[in-house]
Structure formats: C-alpha cells, structure tokens
C-alpha cells in the first residue's frame, strides 16, 4: 500500500514541474506539453484519492480529463500550426497578440 502523502507529494512535484515548464520555456509546443504534465499530475492525485477512498469516482474523472485533454490537444495543436503558418514562429515571446 503506497502512502497517500507520497502520491500527493509526487503529484505536487510533477505539477510544479509543469508550471515551471510553462513559465520558463518559450516554445509553445513545450509549454503545451508542460500543460499536459500538469493535467497528468492532477490525474495522479485523482487516482490516488480514488484508491484511498475505495471509490471509482476519481478514476471516472480521470477518464473525463483524458477526453478533454485529447480534444484540447487537437485544437491546441491546430492553433499552433495555424499560428506558425501566419507568423513563422512558435516562440510565445515573439507573439503578443493578447495585447489589447
């Protein structure tokens, strides 16, 4: 039996790594991957708690998260490809379209 604290801590570490990845990298694709890492960290926490509570709800949630992630990745990558066609770059610090 794996202690719950370990699992949650592992989840937190992986999540933080994802956050740092979003913050320090400038390649949109890598940032996107870091987001996936964060999602998976959350999934890990879900599964850990599901196991801990002997309930399937957590696993179901992970299932939904995976579905959403799949949809999100498809759309996100399409956007990145489109962006690359327009701007010839995937570096987020060369793109500041969010500025009003």
């Amino acid at each position: 039996m794996i202690p719950l604290n370990w699992l949650v801590a592992l989840s937190a570490i992986v999540f933080t790594i994802g956050v740092v990845g979003v913050l320090v990298r400038r390649n949109a694709l890598v940032i996107f991957m870091s987001v996936e890492l964060m999602l998976n960290a959350a999934n890990l926490a879900f599964v850990a708690f599901a196991n801990h509570m002997k309930s399937l709800d957590g696993q179901i949630f992970v299932f939904f998260v995976m579905t959403v992630a799949a949809a999100e990745v498809a759309i996100g990558l399409a956007i990145i490809v489109h962006l690359f066609r327009l701007r010839e770059t995937v570096f987020v610090d060369e793109i500041h379209l969010l500025k009003g």
């Binding site: 949650v8 740092v20 890598v30 999934n43 599964v47 990745v73 498809a74 399409a78």
Partner: protein, 174 residues
C-alpha cells in the same frame, strides 16, 4: 515490492518530467514526456487502476504525443535558442515561482492536510475495474459521458476548420 516499484516509477516520472522542460530539443522533450506518461501508467497499475493505466498509454502516449511529434516534425523545429538577458531573467523568475509553489504546497501538505482514514467499503476492485468503470459511466455518469462525445465532435470540427484555414473561393483559384 509495491513500494519499491512505486519509488522506481516515481523517480522515473520526476526525472523524465524535468527533462521535458529542460531539454532544448522539442522532440526529445516529447519523448521524455512519453516516458513520463508510461511511468505514470505504471503508478496507475500499482494503484489498481489497470484500465486507466492502459488508457493512459493508448490515449496519451499512443495518440496525443504522436500528434505532438507529428506537429513538431511538420513544423521542422530544431533546438530552441534560449539565450539573452531577458530569457535568463524569465527563467530565474519562473524557477523561483515554481519553488515558491512547491514550498507552499509542501507546507500545506505537511501542515494540515486532513487525509482521513481509508474508506472501509470496497467496491468490486479485485476483479479488474473495467466492468465497474463501464457500469458507472453508463449509469451515474451517463450524461457527462455523452457530453464528452459532443465535446469530441466539436473538437473535431474545430480542428478541421482551424487547420484548413481560410477557404478559398473558386474565383481565386481561377
């Protein structure tokens, strides 16, 4: 045995995750991410979530990451150039923020996270949880489950529309 395996997978997960964000080459990052997902699948197996473990590999490693690789190759990305004062500053801030987040999380976890005792009741977990998950999905979670199909449809349409770009009128072609 379980603990040992867990520690091994956990170490692999942390190291590969770190490599994802540290490596300059996006392809390598993606491959490390695949590895991270696989080790995560291993942890899922240890947690008696066999179905999720396999789906993790099929969906994340087999589909999502292939898509990533596909895009990276399509855009023909090479090593990221990461130099200059501004980027260094950003990295510094980013790592600091990450450290702060981890520290705060650790304090939160260490201080007062009431995890409580494990529940006594055990749903049918021994005989593999595929059937149990299926039953839950098609009964209690039927509506969200059906909604995900709509979501996927929308995503599909969205991707096609975005990736196609502006539709050309016949006159432009002529």
């Amino acid at each position: 045995m379980t603990i040992a395996l867990f520690v091994g997978f956990a170490a692999l997960l942390v190291v590969t995750s770190l490599m994802v964000i540290l490596h300059r080459n996006p392809v390598t990052s993606a491959l490390f991410l695949v590895l991270a997902f696989c080790s995560l699948a291993g942890i899922y197996l240890l947690l008696h979530a066999e179905f999720l473990g396999m789906v993790q590999i099929v969906v994340y490693a087999g589909a999502i990451m292939v898509l990533f690789l596909f895009v990276i190759m399509y855009l023909n990305l090479q090593h990221d150039v990461e130099s200059g004062v501004q980027i260094a500053l950003r990295r510094g801030i980013g790592w600091l923020a990450g450290a702060g987040l981890l520290l705060a999380g650790a304090t939160l976890l260490g201080r007062g996270l009431a995890l409580g005792p494990a529940a006594e009741v055990s749903p049918d977990q021994a005989s593999g949880n595929v059937a149990a998950i299926g039953k839950a999905l098609y009964s209690r979670y039927l509506f969200p489950f059906e909604l995900t199909s709509v979501l996927l449809l929308v995503a599909m349409v969205g991707v096609i529309v975005i990736a196609r770009g502006r539709a050309r009128s016949p006159r432009e072609d002529a």
